[in-house]
């Protein structure tokens, strides 16, 4: 008959046993990782011989390219939801992953387009990168000004320090890096459209709306102060004015103002005189901003019209302008059957989907509707 050990000893043995097993297994896993997940250096061939990279295998293609200074657009930070980081991989990518399938169209799948944040570099790859993406790089700057535009929208102005200028076209966006802070253990990248005109190329301005629970917006609203250092990459995006002379309809809501605030001032300085009607939707008067500036521009520029609209004006607003959902206002103002009209949209996914429907009913074809959707 064995003597039972004292309680303390039993606890000690139990704890020791658990720790031993855990350490043993962790060691086994580390060892396995060292030998099994080690793919060694892999060569990435870009645009059939244009550039050759050698990267450490095992990481995602998006991360590998970023470490080599090639920035592929990505709004979700590599989580496989935004589908911005599409790249053509002609060789070595392996079969299509279930996480990629819903983000790609049949034509894209047939053309070897892949989601680069999901594809891991396991062997040598051959990929195609559009030439304009090479101009995307990392920038550093100092926050020059943060001002409140409404109760939940702020304007951020960042003076560039390294490099000192940024060439972009009105409508493009940057990816702001929010560093790790108490709400987020790792740094994240989030996309924001530039609101300053392209000739103001020594700084970047953007309009940010507080998203409840949002990692980056909370950081901007709570922690970021004037004088802080900030990092971002850019410029990204295909959302820009077309090269035609067609009449335009702009539709925006909330911080969707950003690209149009850049475009209108760019058009003014560059002397682009295309007939433009700008519909801007908000809930009540307290959600409106830049109305005076835009009304002034509309008075000054004969080809520009600005129509702000409130969906639910408050009692004290004394609102005399358009009232209703922005889609209803657009429906009222745009005449049907205009096949020379181009539409530019920026705002929430719900607003854009609803507006696209209205525009389609008006006979504006899909190839003339350009949008920048928040998701």
């Amino acid at each position: 008959m064995v003597q039972p050990l004292s309680l303390w000893l039993v606890v000690l043995v139990a704890t020791g046993l658990t720790c031993m097993l855990t350490t043993l297994l962790a060691g086994l896993l580390l060892l396995a990782e060292r030998f099994l997940v080690n793919y060694g250096p892999c060569a990435i061939d870009i645009n059939s011989g244009d550039r050759q990279l050698t990267v450490e295998g095992g990481q995602t293609l998006l991360a590998a390219l970023k470490s080599e200074g090639i920035f592929i657009p990505s709004a979700c930070g590599g989580r496989g939801t935004c589908a911005y980081c599409k790249l053509k991989i002609t060789d070595g990518a392996g079969p299509l992953l279930p996480t990629e399938e819903p983000l790609l169209t049949k034509d894209e799948i047939a053309a070897d387009v892949r989601i680069s944040c999901q594809v891991k570099v396991r062997n040598d790859l051959k990929i195609n990168i559009p030439q304009e993406l090479f101009s995307i790089r990392e920038y550093r700057g100092v926050v020059k000004r943060i001002r409140d535009l409404t109760h939940d929208i702020k304007e951020l102005r960042i003076a560039l320090t390294e490099p000192e200028t940024l060439e972009f076209s009105a409508g493009q966006y940057i990816q702001l890096q929010a560093p790790a802070y108490d709400k987020s253990p790792e740094s994240v990248y989030r996309a924001y459209s530039m609101s300053n005109p392209p000739d103001d190329n020594r700084a970047v301005e953007t309009i940010i709306r507080l998203v409840p629970g949002g990692i980056c917006t909370t950081w901007v609203f709570r922690y970021l102060t004037e004088g802080d250092e900030i990092a971002f990459s850019g410029p990204y995006g295909e959302f820009r004015l077309s090269e035609t002379d067609n009449e335009m309809v702009w539709i925006a809501g909330g911080s969707g103002m950003s690209p149009f605030w850049s475009m209108i001032r760019h058009m003014k300085t560059a002397g682009i005189e295309r007939k433009t009607t700008y519909f801007f939707g908000a809930v009540a008067k307290r959600d409106l901003f830049f109305v005076d500036e835009l009304t002034e521009l509309a008075d000054e520029l004969p080809w520009f019209e600005f129509i702000p609209a409130l969906s639910a004006p408050a009692d004290g607003d004394h609102w005399t302008g358009e009232t209703g959902l922005i889609t209803e206002i657009v429906n009222r103002h745009v005449t049907a059957g205009r096949n020379d009209l181009e539409a530019y949209l920026c705002g929430s996914a719900g607003m854009i989907d609803a507006a696209c429907k209205v525009l389609a009913d008006k006979g504006i074809t899909e190839d003339r509707i350009f949008y920048d959707k928040f998701n």
């Binding site: 064995v2 046993l17 086994l28």
Partner: protein, 219 residues
């Protein structure tokens, strides 16, 4: 008058018969899913297509077989010998078993990724999900009661076969459900019952059918 199908318990018979009985009871009469209701979560969510059910089922078989055996080693050779000294083997096994399962799934994921990228991709997200499949931990815990049960007294080989049987039982159940679900015409089901509702009803009917098997093999 009662008719006894099997007179003597096969557990006392020759080795081959004993293993066959363990296998049959683990996979059919004592099916971990339809008689014990463990591992319901992936059972319901991954049974929409036969292909994904097949992948998940195979992975569960593999992990259950291996972890039940490793946990048997741990239980029979470390925990049980220490029990007379006052070590609470029954509480401790819970913690240790889940650690073993989690580590093993990780290891297997790396191994499969290395050996066959094709298999790795076809299993996809199901692989890491196995860690939280309670059927795997359940099988390991049932194994421990069979080890201490003086009538069964499972050894290493018995545990290995039991683990395989439990996994195979889960595989059979999810394949059956996926087969039924892929033949269902959603249009003819009342809207409120579509999706999870009708799946739970099907699973319930299948479970009733499996309850009838219970007791056919008395271990």
């Amino acid at each position: 008058m009662t008719v006894q199908l099997i007179a003597a318990s096969p557990i006392d018979g020759p080795m081959a018969l004993r293993l066959l009985a363990i296998l049959a009871s683990a996979s059919l009469t004592d099916n971990i899913l339809l008689a014990r209701f463990l591992g319901m979560c992936p059972f319901l969510s991954l049974s929409r297509q036969v292909r994904s059910a097949f992948g998940m089922g195979l992975a569960v078989i593999f992990v259950t077989t291996c972890t039940v055996w490793i946990n048997w080693l741990l239980y029979a050779h470390i925990l049980l010998p220490l029990e007379p000294y006052g070590l609470p083997a029954d509480s401790l096994k819970l913690i240790l078993f889940i650690v073993v399962v989690a580590a093993f799934v990780q290891l297997m994921e790396m191994l499969i990724e290395r050996i066959s990228t094709r298999l790795y991709y076809s299993l996809g997200i199901f692989l890491p999900l196995i860690t939280v499949n309670c059927a795997i931990l359940g099988a390991a815990l049932f194994m421990t009661t069979s080890v201490t049960d003086p009538a069964k007294h499972y050894g290493g080989l018995d545990s290995l076969v039991y683990g395989f049987g439990a996994g195979a039982g889960w595989f059979i159940a999810i394949m059956l459900l996926a087969g039924v679900r892929s033949r269902i015409k959603e249009d003819s089901i009342p809207p409120a019952l579509r999706g999870p509702g009708i799946t739970l009803i099907i699973a319930g009917i299948m479970a009733m059918a499996f309850v009838i098997f219970q007791g056919m093999i008395k271990l």
